[in-house]
Amino acid sequence: MSWDWQVFCQDTITQEVGASCFGKGGDITYLDWMLSAWGWTVSVSLLSLVVALVVGSLIGTLRTLEGSPWIVRLGNAWVEFFRNIPLLVHIFLWYHVIPSIFPAMKSLPGFVLVVFALGFFTSARIAEQLRSGILALPRGQRYAGMAMGFTTFQYYRYVLLPMAFRIIIPPLTSETMNIFKNSSVAFAVSVAELTMFAMQAQEETSRGIEVYLAVTGLYVVSAFAINRIMAFIEQRARVPGMIAAGGGGH
């Protein structure tokens, strides 16, 4: 097969290669389109990440509360529900099934829906990680916080969570990278992100290899950027005098 990188300069309607690879006056080229698709991918991923972090932290924390078995059970149910059903199936149920039961959901744009679905799906995994992070801390830390007179909220806020988050930064990094990759399911609810672009553009231009190569490249760039950001955070959050977190041993 021969290469034809000119495809990205083609106009999306006339299929003609223009003088510039960026369209003018309302016309768009495949390059324009791909960049905007990348923008959607990044938006979906980052917003889902926010949802996942907020919900995941909450659920993960609730699951470690002592003396509240019902809250713990609720948290477990959340994790099992979102962990054991594939993301694509979740999206489908939320997009097609739930709205026919609650018609109000129908007006929800696909974008919002996928942000929540992907966010909740990932929150189950983050909750699991945070829980093990908290449980990895010596029991004495919890006691120490209580003994200082902190309320439950306070000792989580000031004592347990700061260390637990530091401990789980490595798996959290993998999860943030995963969110970028998983964001491709957004095409199933009509968000014009990279995977949809790839499927559509390769069909229209018949230059599948070039299109997929470019899209793969953008995914790798995004995941790698997230990886570097997390490495930076890990660096900044490092506590002086501690060997890399998690090495506790006994």
Binding site: T12, I13, F92, A188, A192, M196, M199, Q200, Q202, S206
Partner: protein, 279 residues
């Protein structure tokens, strides 16, 4: 020579047929059974080739393909001949060859019967669904520009998904190949609720796809197609898959043979989509 499919079939006694798992022209019944108008036509082409090669036994391997992988699969030799629902266009002709056109697809509009929409001009301000990874999106875009319409465009993951959006009222119209619209409507819970309306938005020749630069194989395939047209067996096949009840549900698709397809059969050719005019 590397590109001698006939020799390859003769020496290996096997051939790989690319088929679709769920489209208007070919689908699966599960457990490795593939059926449909184009699938069965492909089998007949291969039977003719077996006769031509004088093989006592020839095994047909079925390889399900998707719109993403069908071209690379043909190019890299995994699939010898693909008879699914692939549009013959100039861009693709750079990579692969096409047999004579055996079906001409018309892109049309399906709507809810009670919606009152009768054509493309009624779509102004409405929400329209098409399927990701199909050329209908392009058609839609062209029409949008030509007629100065504004409408909201959403895309289904696959045809069933798109149709579901029409069914659940998320979209007002589903723009897609006529055969797919007909198949989906016929399978739906209340087929009378939907209808295909308005003008033909574009026409696309659908043909079996072969490796490039293999004239002997292409000739064998084309010859078989011409034979099937001439002796009327292709028309009978069409009737069987579009006008009679078909598995798995035993309902009729009910899509009569179009003028465009009749014309293609009358003058067998492998012209790409670009040389067709929307009438």
């Amino acid at each position: 020579q590397a590109n001698d499919t006939l020799a390859k079939i003769k020496s290996s006694g096997a051939v790989t047929l690319g088929v679709r798992e769920s489209s208007g022209l070919g689908y699966t019944l599960g457990s490795g059974k593939y059926v449909g108008f184009h699938t069965e036509m492909g089998e007949r082409i291969l039977a003719d080739i077996q006769k031509q090669l004088g093989l006592a036994k020839m095994e047909i391997k079925y390889q399900p393909v998707t719109s993403q992988n069908r071209i690379p699969l043909v190019v890299n030799g995994t699939v010898d001949i693909e008879c699914g629902s692939t549009t013959n266009n100039t861009a693709r002709q750079k990579d692969v060859a096409f047999a004579y056109t055996t079906y001409v697809e018309e892109v049309r509009i399906a709507v809810n019967a009670k919606s009152g929409i009768t054509g493309i001009k009624d779509l102004n301000g409405k929400t329209i669904v098409t399927t990701t990874g199909t050329t209908s999106v392009q058609t839609l875009r062209k029409n949008k520009r030509a007629e100065g319409l504004t409408f909201k465009e959403i895309m289904g993951k696959d045809h069933a998904d798109s149709f579901l959006m029409l069914e659940t009222g998320r979209a007002d119209a589903f723009i897609m190949d006529g055969s797919i619209l007909a198949a989906n409507i016929s399978k739906s819970k209340n087929p009378q609720d939907y209808k295909v309306v308005g003008e033909v938005l574009s026409v696309e020749p659908i043909a079996c796809m072969l490796r490039k630069d293999d004239p002997a194989f292409k000739k064998a395939v084309d010859d078989s197609i011409v034979r099937q047209i001439k002796d009327g067996s292709l028309a009978k096949l069409y009737d069987r898959w579009f006008m009679q009840p078909i598995p798995p549900n035993n309902v009729k698709v009910g899509l009569p043979l179009s003028e465009a397809t009749k014309e293609a059969w009358a003058n067998p050719n492998d012209k790409p989509m670009e040389s067709y005019e929307v009438k």
